[in-house]
Amino acid sequence: MNRDTVRTVTAIEPLEALAVAQHRRLGGWRLVQMHGTRVDGATEVNYAYALDGALEILRARVPDGTAIPSITGIYFAAFHYENELQDLFGLKVTDLAVDYKGHFYKLKQTTPYRPDLGVEGIGSVEAPRVPMAEDAEPAATPRDAHGRPVPARIAEGITGNRTIVPFGPQHPVLPEPIHLDLVLEDEKVVEAIPSIGFIHRGLEKLVEKRDFVDYVYVAERICGICSFMHGMGYCLAVENTMGIEVPKRADYLRTVLAEMARIHNHTMWLGLVADAFGFESLFMHSWRVREIILDVFEEITGGRVIFSICRIGGLRRDVDERQIDLLMKALDRIEKELEPLVSAFTQEYSVVHRMTGVGVLSKAEAYELGALGPMLRASGWALDTRLLGYAAYDDLRFAPVVETAGDCMARTKVRIRETAQSIGLIRQAVAKLPPGEIAAPVKGTPNGEFMARVEQPRGEAIYYVRGNGTRFLERFRVRTPTFANVPALVKTLQGCQLADVPMLVLTIDPCISCTER
């Protein structure tokens, strides 16, 4: 069981949120996430803060028709969550630092959690978005003949030498769609305005239609890259809600599979970043190394990217001697084959030149903007959710990988060193692998709530489940690391060169399908 987290839930008044945020901020707490839940005729807004192992949820009950104050003045990183609340719950948030006015996502069905609001939702009230336009000089809010703001990307007559360059959603370096409006001054990016929602499927709400046991398969498909960890995170949350004790062997195997997923992710990322700065052979070689681990995945689970091996209570398949043997051989091979690639990444002149000092995120900024995972650790923070000791991490020895430079190079080095760390962790876990059952029986239905935290390759992910004693959960919420890293990305993009944009976008290791769910 997850021993993490001193977890408290406190009820607050909606207006208290500001004062609380101020207080937490001074105490050095991190805003980990915000989400809404519909509870008889009102929306509950949950603010989750974390400090080390402690997790605190503050819950404000907001009656329909009332607005809540934005906390973006205190935690800038909240703008995502609050815009999402506006879009999905039709909840008005006042004084938002970056207000998309109900157009954060373009939805087929407006305010899906408030079907009673009808097609109007909150969206129709205001004109299309031009977020962040206010601070880019007066002329940057161009309006059309009807006085409506014109979308930034088609706006003309931006003052002086400023231009707006659209980036994405379809772009050669982007494996997934995200759109950025880049405000340029000559070659320099002054401002980057993200618009997301190209992958927003709305799978959190699907939990109301799928049995909680079957939902594992949907959870896995939040993202096909960290699919195992998504399945595991969801299972951890449900298991903790129901008080299921997972057998030790399953915990160890989950750890092994999770670390394999990390190796897969990091080697893949190395390739993608090499592609972003135009080093194609390095891209190909990194992906070649990645195939080694995929073969082992296929051998153990039957799938290359979607595994469906995790289930509530443990795992669906055991691992035998031969598979372990294959895994060990694969690890040796990866270690050996990664070596020349690592020296290309860290010593090759053009690569070093391209990445050193680019996109620096200072230690203070990283924390402030709520960055996570390798992004945060590359800026000097030794924060790693695995230290909370879920699955078998409690029994393994490791320390977070930290770099201090905060630039693209540091982020690359963190990921390279983490790959080596994962190899070490798998060896430790396999050496200690206990015999026994691989799954505990599941009896009853979830009743209650839990917020599980898992360290994904990209950083901490949060899985929140809330059951009501039926086979269908009331609410499932996942907050993924990329979602939290976008504010930091926007920050590093400010002041960079246009040519660096693809690389900077890639160094946060964006996973858009996670982000938008």
């Binding site: 996502y105 379809q170 050669p172 992958i199 709305g202 949907v218 993202c223 979607i306």
Partner: protein, 159 residues
């Protein structure tokens, strides 16, 4: 025109997928499966592409983007729906923001099932698409059949 059949260029776009199929599409191009050795190139530019590999069940916001990419591709062109999401909406079919498959927005020529679609089946799908591409080429008026460049200039690079 035989070159078109032997070394088609493809464009890949993620129409609200989970990523699983997308990395498998990329895996086709990288070592182990490596279709690039046959001259099949993944291009980022729709105007260079013959085959459109679309993954994912397509959501509301992606509808226009997908359409836009398709419209920019020169004739003849084929669309391959990769993965069960793109085929029918798959696991996300009942989600509130999903249109339910690639054929809700585009005329799809080849469906590749699988969740995730395996690289082998994606390659198989592309090979099937080549046959369709050839058929479509034959159906074009003679002038447009000469070659891609002639055709692009004849039609202003747009279909």
């Amino acid at each position: 025109m035989a070159f078109l059949k032997r070394s088609p260029w493809m464009i890949h776009y993620d129409g609200s997928s989970c990523n699983g199929c997308d990395i498998e599409v990329l895996a086709c191009l990288t070592p182990v499966y490596d279709v690039e050795r046959f001259g099949i190139v993944n291009t980022g530019n729709p105007k260079h592409a013959d085959i459109f590999l679309l993954t994912g069940a397509v959501n509301e916001q992606n509808r226009e983007v997908v359409r836009n990419i398709y419209d920019q591709m020169p004739e003849p062109k084929v669309v391959v729906a990769v993965g069960i999401c793109a085929t029918s909406g798959g696991i996300f079919r009942e989600c509130y923001n999903i249109l339910g498959g690639a054929d809700k927005v585009l005329p799809v020529d080849v469906y590749v099932p699988g969740c995730a679609a395996r690289p082998e089946s994606i390659i198989d799908g592309v090979v099937k698409a080549l046959a369709v591409l050839e058929e479509k080429r034959r159906a074009l008026p003679p002038r447009a059949r000469r070659g891609r460049r002639a055709e692009a200039s004849a039609q202003g690079g747009n279909a």
